[in-house]
């Protein structure tokens, strides 16, 4: 019940296209859902995060869509650019009870020029 399942494992998108990465969870107590971006040779860095009181959050070309009833959330990257090529991790947490993040397995995204 603590797992976060992320798909796909890898994704190739043409420049200018929309990249979509999905995550699903079982624990309905999760109330914080961040996405982290990791470039080769670097540590992950927070990209965008959402709380379950909203269904969507947008920051520039990056959008999180959250479906509480389906227990799913997804990352959409609009107008994907070669510089977006990275590994993306979703995660989940129960923020008011602990600070541990439960991580998805990651998606390697390649944007083709």
């Amino acid at each position: 019940q603590q797992q976060v399942k992320q798909s796909p494992q890898s994704l190739i998108v043409q420049k200018g296209g929309i990249s979509i990465i999905n995550c699903a969870y079982e624990n309905t107590a999760f109330d914080y859902f961040p996405w982290y971006q990791q470039f080769p040779g670097k540590g992950p860095a927070l990209l965008i995060a959402i709380r379950p009181d909203v269904s969507e959050k947008k920051e520039g070309r990056f959008t999180i869509s959250f479906n509480k009833s389906a227990k799913q959330f997804s990352l959409h990257i609009m107008d994907s650019q070669p510089g977006d090529s990275a590994t993306y991790f979703c995660a989940a947490s129960i923020v008011d009870s602990n600070y541990q993040l439960i991580w998805g397995a990651g998606t390697k995204l390649i944007i083709k020029p």
């Binding site: 040779g41 540590g43 992950p44 923020v95 600070y99 397995a105």
Partner: protein
Amino acid sequence: DAGITQSPRYKITETGRQVTLMCHQTWSHSYMFWYRQDLGHGLRLIYYSAAADITDKGEVPDGYVVSRSKTENFPLTLESATRSQTSVYFCASADWRPHISYEQYFGPGTRLTVT
């Protein structure tokens, strides 16, 4: 302002040897974490710490030891390295405050190879 640093960045050691990976942060964040990253497994939590002298096990603690005598340092020791501990190790810190801040800040990682 270095933020969070890890040393060494690369390490090759032999099975059975003791290895210590260092982590130092300059923000005075209360929380610190050690993760290992392996292909197909994402990030797995080894140990975490809520403050100096307070540590607790994560998902995969076996074979590892941590200490935190000072807020800014959180070393990870492999007491007797095994090949299964070959991995990339990330340290992270967080100024975790409910309703205010939840972000974890990661170091650059240490690539450890056990031969």
